[in-house]
């Protein structure tokens, strides 16, 4: 999807040095960019730093933005690349990511200790996945990006995106099975697995595509 006329006008003004236009341009997508960075980095403070750094890069690179491209996808790609750079630097510094995700729990879930504990466990397991698998998983299943968007951001073909997503879900399933002792007591765990037993509750309605 191409950028909207409103976005293109803001980009044109920002290219000429109108910083307020740039801030107006990125304000509606700031939460999504931050969400993506948090999910990939597992740390709120680092994610905020990376998004800020990436947006400065975006501003500096506006001259090379193609008008027929999707601005959000272009910016997401820069955020993702900045995250990867930072993760590589952290590895070189032998830093371990500090888990801060529970800070962001939705207000409606506050006080729901079980839900928080479950989210903790899932987050722990996501954090153990390689970045290669974590990327499509958090983008598709948590942040709600479409396959095509992920394909363009990660610069992978659609088949590879779907294949990695499948592998990521399977890897996460295995890791959650490994955590069944932590899941016990608040959720039914069938032998050898997590979740409810029951037998493939996907609707039998055949997709039209």
């Amino acid at each position: 999807m191409a950028s909207s006329p409103e976005q293109l006008e803001l980009i044109r003004r920002a290219r000429n040095g109108d910083k307020a236009a740039f801030e107006t341009l990125v304000a509606p997508i700031l939460d999504r960019l931050f969400g993506l960075a948090v999910q990939l980095m597992r740390n709120h403070d680092d994610a905020a730093d990376v998004v800020q750094e990436a947006l400065v890069k975006v501003y500096r690179s506006l001259g090379s933005f193609r008008g027929d491209a999707d601005f959000f996808i272009w910016v997401s790609r820069i955020v993702r690349n900045t995250v990867l750079d930072e993760l590589k630097r952290a590895v070189r510094r032998h830093e371990e990511p500090t888990e801060t995700l529970p800070e962001s729990l939705d207000r409606s879930l506050e006080g729901k200790a079980e839900q928080e504990e479950l989210q903790h466990i899932v987050q722990d397991c996501i954090g153990q996945l390689s970045v290669k698998l974590r990327e499509p998983l958090v983008m598709y299943d948590i942040e709600g990006y479409a396959y095509e968007e992920i394909s363009r951001i990660l610069e992978l073909n659609l088949g590879t995106v779907k294949s990695r997503l499948n592998r990521a879900r399977e890897a996460l399933r295995q890791k959650l099975i490994g955590q069944r002792h932590r899941l016990a007591g608040w959720i039914e765990i069938p032998d050898g697995g997590v979740g409810r037993s029951g037998g493939g509750k996907v609707s039998n309605e055949v997709p039209t595509s």
């Binding site: 290219r15 998004v51 989210q119 879900r169 997590v194």
Partner: protein
């Protein structure tokens, strides 16, 4: 369908992202296979947990911090808006001790001025030389075709600074108002006066500029076929 065929696509089955025939086949398998049915249940549970993950909002100070950072930023540089082959954008190859020359070509698509030849300083044979080709227009021009052609004694070089057999590159892009500079590195493989012909086309209009590169050296150092 067997388990080993179904397992790799159970995720896509969950997402209903399979052609109708395959979806039905997986569905049939899952109905009759307890193990795969359990796997689908588990994956469904995993996906539900992922979708229930919190969506953190950007901290309020992020916008303020960005505002402060941007205050120190100059106006964004205007850069080429096209995909020139990356192998040609290889300034690092200049580290080979090459002479550096610059030639500027201003293109005014609407003008009828004749092509102009620009001669750069002579370079030794078998050395790389960087040439800046500047395309200048007085307004944004979309859907432009760029061509750069080398005459016989010149070769483009790859990212490692080695000559390649290519003598012509072409790409599509757009020119933004002002000057757009494309750095190109070439190597003189034979002594002589060779030229780089840079052409920019828009519909039926075209402008060509010739950049003359004198290459010096004795004939014993000529590289057969431009390789080496």
């Amino acid at each position: 369908m067997k388990c080993q065929q179904a397992e790799p696509i159970l995720g896509r089955f969950l997402d209903r992202d399979l052609p109708a025939g395959r979806f039905a086949a997986v569905g049939e398998h899952v109905r009759t296979c307890e193990r795969c049915a359990a796997r689908v249940d588990e994956l469904q549970w995993v996906v539900a947990q992922l979708k229930a993950q919190p969506h953190p909002k950007a901290p309020s100070e992020l916008a303020a911090r960005l505002h402060l950072r941007l205050a120190a930023e100059p106006v964004p540089a205007r850069k080429p808006v096209f995909d020139i082959p990356r192998s040609l954008l290889n300034w690092p190859s200049l580290g080979l001790g090459a002479a550096v020359a610059a030639a500027l070509m201003f293109v005014v698509l609407r003008s009828s001025q004749p092509s102009v030849g620009i001669q750069v300083a002579a370079v030794p044979v078998d050395r790389n030389v960087g040439v800046q080709i500047a395309f200048g227009v007085d307004r944004d021009v979309k859907d432009v075709t760029f061509d750069i052609k080398l005459s016989d004694g010149l070769r483009f070089v790859d990212a490692k600074g080695q000559p390649v057999n290519t003598q012509e590159v072409s790409w599509k892009g757009e020119l933004m108002r002002g000057k757009t500079v494309v750095p190109v590195t070439v190597r003189g493989i034979r002594p002589g006066k060779w030229d780089i012909l840079a052409i920019v086309r828009k519909n039926q209009m075209a402008r060509a500029t010739q950049i003359i590169v004198p290459v010096q050296g004795d004939t014993s150092s000529v590289l057969p076929g431009g390789e080496g």
